[in-house]
Subunit: 480 residues, 2 copies
């Protein structure tokens, strides 16, 4: 049970790799939260990123007057808040050219965490002459209605507007606004997203096919709701991964913990907290983010991800005889995600007694609901996601409905257990790698990338290219 | 401008034929609002209805604890209200048989107005062994949250929950509830709807393809939003219809008006009000509904629709030297529709100076918005329908997305100007008749039906049969 204090009490099994995916970028590429600029470039350079398209382009920030509630007509619903989106015109072919628009759909973190860190848009914009758009998720980053993030999440009424359906409607409004503003009405739109943002991308194509021509949904566990995926799917993959890398004993040694690790969750919670704190309190004179990033970067040549992370931990705390795993704090993502999983995103992760390397901890919906009620005063709606977005009989439904969605996964990612791993139709496709991790295809291409991720990205882009060509062909046919 | 007093001030061009379609049934087949039973049978018999399946079956009424707001997690949103739905098991093949479920999606009136009046479900249930479901639209009939209809519509907060997106989510919840309750998880669901209800049916298939396998959207002007259809489309068809039947002079003569008619709108408003009042105040000792129905029925053999309507008018007022068109009152549909068109359903109907038989009255969005603000205190959201449901580039979008929707129309219906009249893909199809009127295919089959409407209905049912067969085939293939 991941319990991180009364407010952010994240329900049970806070998705570790979700977290790693976004925290890594919180750590290293978050320009606005880091008063000193340049952290991103230094870090990336040291990580030997070759394609620095993203860091060399100018991002321009805009704010849209976003409607508070799209589905409700109470007078309060008409209020608007400042909704942040960011554009890069660097490779754009310009208005009235029908050049595509690539849109990154923000997930459970500040948009600062994505800019530069998400490479797939910038790496491919030149080839397509595409306009790049990055849209922040409401209630994260600078897109928080009216008050501070803390106040917004404390306010039971205000946080009621924090939901995926409202977020998708936000995205539709911003995209249509941009198309009007830049005379790009006929431009095909492709949406991209990873993890929870990948679910949003897939759902956006399903709910707003008139706004987005296609979606790349990276590591999106769209089937991890209700009873579609066995609840131990997540930890079964974790166990498999650790088996392959010699499991807990390695972790224990690597992190030089004061007490023997009883479960990977302890370390997980510890890393959760450490990275969050480093990001949230990244201020003079210590600049902990910089500190951890430098630690990560200074790991010896040939270090693997865990070595690097520990090297970051050691840099943060300084050299110690051993490391204490009790410093728990909150962070933007943890807070927001805690509410989201207690309102609608009920992902039933659990594990039986002998099916993983962890102690038994079956998913208990009743307990989950009670905990959410204690924390937020309202119960979650555990069946709403499948009611609104579907999930049951996914293949049968989408076989004759919908098109142009890529579900990409890496099978070492525990969330791949709830992902779509089978082609559904000619254009709803599964592209996965056996070695890949969470959201890997979205990162900027680098020299050191293994061949299989290069291949995966190429396949994805060729599929997208096919959608765009077909779109142009249709336009041509209709105009003749 | 149809102005019917301060509360029901229906915005501008209240859809006459929408109104006729639903008022006809309010008049003649509304069992619960008519304290004396039997009106329906008498009327139908006299109208020589042959297929009386609908009146001979037992409808069973149920109430579902419906969530007030599906897209919002404010504490108030969790409240539930009693949502009415009605089942007929008469032809149902039973649980675990995969027999289809036919669902009628209620429109802007009480469900009482639909039961018995909508024939296409009952006329075809036997062939398919189908369960029949009729679901009421929130804020109509008995499905009004917490208070009386009048109070609900006066309450600016409460009426905020009165929207099409909430309604579609209601329908999804009720259908999934019924499938669980009656062990019909694998039953294919076909949704039916007419006019606004037809829009709901089409949109339901697009937004909830995992809940409904297909939709019959009868007379659904899904393209009458934003600037997709020219605003004079509606009145151009009205003009064409009246030209063919010799126009205003005939109306004037038929209705024996005290003053010459200056526009059809006067008569339209008059009929609006007369029928509404008759339905709303249908009580002893006069039973005005019965009175009007008897008037309609007693029109001489061979009377056309207008003759019959006038005959009803004359019966209501008694024989008079001439008829005064000033008695304006409210009715459930008018009230509800007034709010719906002032919040989201902005259908821009207008007419230029020389394009119809009516005086010029161009659609003026600014004026429309101001009027809505005066009436309800909030402006409409005129672009929301196309943002959420689409509409622009309809054909291009649905050509490669979505499936299993029939758009049926009759070209004499003014709303067909905003309908889909072209096949879009192999399974998104337009089935129209040149002579047909609004929602005609949904009515119970009768001996006197013209051949072309019989043909239209047969085509529709065969298409639906094809969807269902394919669905079974898929299940079979997957189970092998």
């Amino acid at each position: 049970m991941a319990t991180r204090g009364p407010r952010i009490q994240a329900p049970w099994h806070l998705p570790w790799l979700f977290f790693l995916c976004s925290v890594t970028c919180v750590l290293c590429v978050s320009p606005s939260k880091v008063p000193r600029l340049g952290v991103r470039e230094i870090t990336m350079e040291k990580l030997k990123l070759q394609s620095l398209a993203s860091s060399h382009q100018k991002f321009r920030t805009f704010y849209y007057n976003q409607t508070l509630d799209h589905f409700n007509y109470r007078p309060e619903s008409y209020k608007t808040f400042q909704h942040r989106y960011v554009l890069s015109f660097k490779h754009w072919r310009g208005p009235n050219t029908m050049a595509p628009i690539f849109v990154y759909l923000g997930e459970e973190s500040s948009l600062n965490d994505d800019l530069g860190y998400i490479g797939i848009l910038s790496d491919n914009a030149a080839r397509f002459g595409a306009l790049q758009v990055y849209i922040e998720h409401r209630f994260y980053g600078e897109s928080i209605p009216f008050v501070s993030r803390e106040e917004a999440l404390k306010d039971a009424n205000l946080r009621g507007y924090f939901s995926s359906a409202q977020t998708l409607a936000d995205y539709a409004e911003v995209i249509l606004h941009i198309k009007r503003k830049y005379s790009a009405d006929s431009s095909p739109v492709i949406v991209f997203g990873g993890s929870y943002g990948g679910m949003l991308a897939a759902w956006f194509r399903l709910k707003y096919p008139h706004v987005a021509l296609g979606a790349l949904a990276s590591s999106a566990p769209v089937l991890y709701f209700d009873n579609i995926t066995p609840s131990n799917g997540y930890y079964t993959v974790v166990t498999k991964d650790f088996k392959e890398s010699n499991g807990l004993s390695i972790l224990q040694k690597k992190f030089n913990t004061c007490k023997p690790l009883e479960a990977a969750a302890e370390l997980k919670n510890f890393l959760d907290s450490l990275f969050s704190v480093a990001a949230q309190y990244d201020r003079p004179p210590r600049y902990p983010v910089d500190l951890v990033c430098k630690g990560i970067d200074s790991a010896p040549e040939g270090s693997d991800v865990l070595d690097r992370i520990f090297s970051g931990v050691a840099a943060y705390f300084g050299k110690k005889p051993c490391y204490n795993l009790d410093a728990f704090f909150s962070a933007e993502t943890l807070d927001g995600w805690s509410w989201q999983t207690c309102s609608e995103l009920v992902i039933p992760i659990g594990r039986g007694s002998n099916d993983t390397m962890f102690p038994a901890d079956p998913f208990d919906l009743k307990e989950y609901i009670e905990e959410c009620k204690r924390t937020f005063g309202v119960p979650p709606r555990p069946h709403w996601i499948t009611t609104y977005y579907g999930g049951h009989h996914f293949k049968e439904v989408l076989r004759r409905f919908g098109s142009n969605i890529i579900f990409s996964n890496g099978l070492r990612d525990p969330y791949s257990s709830g992902g779509v791993l089978e082609n559904i139709s000619d254009s709803i496709l599964a592209v996965y790698t056996t070695k890949g991790a969470h959201c890997m295809d979205l990162l900027p291409a680098t020299i050191g990338d293994p061949e299989w991720v290069v291949l995966q990205r190429n396949i994805e882009i060729e599929i997208i290219n096919g959608w765009i060509l077909k779109y142009y062909q249709d336009l041509l046919e209709n105009s003749i």
